[in-house]
Amino acid sequence: MSDIRTETMTVNMGPQHPSTHGVLRLVLELDGEIIQSVIPTIGYLHTGIEKTAEQKKWQQVIPLVERMDYLAAQSNSLAYALSVEKLLWLEMPQRVKDIRVLIAELQRIASHLIWIGTHGLEIGAVSMLFYAVRERELLLNINELIAGFRFFPSYIRIGGLREDLPRGFHAQVQEFLDRFPAKIDEFEGLLTKNDIYQRRTQNVGIITKEHAYAWGLVGPIARAGGSDYDVRKYFPYSGYEGYDFKVPTATEGDVYARYRVRVAEMRESLKIAKQALDRISPTGVFACDDTRVVPPPKDKVYSEMEALIQHFLIYSQGFTVPAGEAYVPVEGPRGEHGCYIVSDGTNRPWRVKMRAPSFMAIQALPTVVRGGLIADVVAVIGSTDVVMGDCDR
């Protein structure tokens, strides 16, 4: 038997493959069913957002950065807004911080819902997608209520929020918060003790804490391998230090552990959202009081000359940001979303760079799946929760 000639087989996966979450291309070298090497090719969704941002005024960049990670739009815009506010030395009123926290947590749940749906779908639990998307629809309805836009609300602005919360916001969010815990139990009922799911995911695609750190993976992936690093706890922003929540962790580091961490994260996000909703008054301040950045209220624009000029300047030239640089990370659904901005003191950014967690996850993918089975590649990609818009920007 030993003189049988064997050779490896090269298999192309993607870019149009349903389980690659967009347009990721993998070239796999297989020895039978065992993976010898993987070469990921990215860039199919590169849209030059960072270059475009340099031509826009500061406030106009918000809709652009939201289109990077299209499943966690408001975690991008939060990172961007916070870093510009850092350069402007702006401090937000408590109500704005609480609304931002609430929005960020709802966004995290929405992103995790898409993740749990597609991940389940890819490894055979097809009905998972329908259950998850049904709940996500309610979150998109909340987005529509606050901003009139379901995917990219651009509700978070530099200097606060675009406008005050609409009527009926509290009731609609409360309805979701009351309904959702039972739905998480339902998801867990479908997957957590599911024998097929466990066999597909346990001891597959192990990423230890050290491995994750070496490859720059921080976020749910590292937390499933024993890390407890969460930006919300380590470098609190937007008032997270005032909230009571736990950081779910696991130690196994396999696909199943990442699943458990993310499901537990949804429960913690619910806890934070509940606390935030209780703190937010139905009406109140929705922006800081810095007249450089925030346009004056409409009634003043019609009655005062200075207000009219300020209004005109903000909407025509935009505001200038002091020269300097800032990097502010936020805990996005996929890990550390950071925004590095450089200002040259003008009304347009000199450089905008988003740290993309998906980019790092795809880079590390070959080291995770090497030596495993080809069927596991799909499970591992799904469990790292990559979004190609985030990766390619």
Binding site: G43, H46, W215, G216, R292, G324, Y327, T346, R348, R351
Partner: protein, 178 residues
């Protein structure tokens, strides 16, 4: 831990390097001489517990010299610290790769090469990452044209006159003081 404290603990570990603290609004920022990047990262990871390289990026400060600044964002989970390393790079300068210290630097450096054309010495795989393989030019350089009316010719080289280029560079950039 401010920049000066980090420099004080770094200096004995990296003999011969002259570090320089830079002003910053968020966390410590240190200028590192380009030839000492690798040994600095090594010392930071092994002795000062900066386990994670969060990202590498670059900014083009045309027409200033040296033209580029390559920026490294490091994270110490155990010490709850962040650090920014900056390296000044001339228009035709190169930077040594830090892949030996942080394996995750590979793609980040590839992206910087793709977008800015900065060569990383010793990088084993410096190919296009986000742009197509046969792309000409490095799009995020400040002298790479944007918003100039041209028929879409994805794979044809770009031709831009000096006037177009200059106008593009100064387009709508207003400086005003409050």
């Amino acid at each position: 831990m401010d920049a000066q404290a980090i420099i004080d603990s770094l200096s004995p570990l990296v003999p011969g390097a002259s570090f320089e603290a830079a002003p910053s609004v968020d966390f410590a920022t240190v200028y590192v001489p380009v030839e000492h990047v690798v040994s600095t990262c090594q010392a930071l990871r092994d002795s000062l517990h900066f386990e994670v390289l969060a990202e590498i990026t670059c900014a083009d400060y045309l027409p200033r010299t040296p033209r580029y600044e390559v920026v490294y964002h490091l994270l110490s989970v155990s010490k709850r610290l962040r650090l920014r390393l900056k390296v000044r790079v001339t228009a035709d300068g190169t930077v040594p790769t830090v892949q030996g210290v942080y394996p995750g630097a590979g793609w980040l450096e590839r992206e910087v090469w793709d977008m800015f054309g900065i060569v990383f010495d010793g990088h084993p795989d410096l190919r296009r990452l986000l742009m197509p393989e046969d792309w000409e030019g490095h799009p995020q350089r400040k002298d790479y044209p944007v918003q100039i009316q041209k028929a879409a010719q994805t794979y044809a080289p770009l031709e831009v006159s000096q006037e177009q280029f200059q106008a593009n560079l100064e387009r709508d950039r207003v400086k005003r003081t409050h």
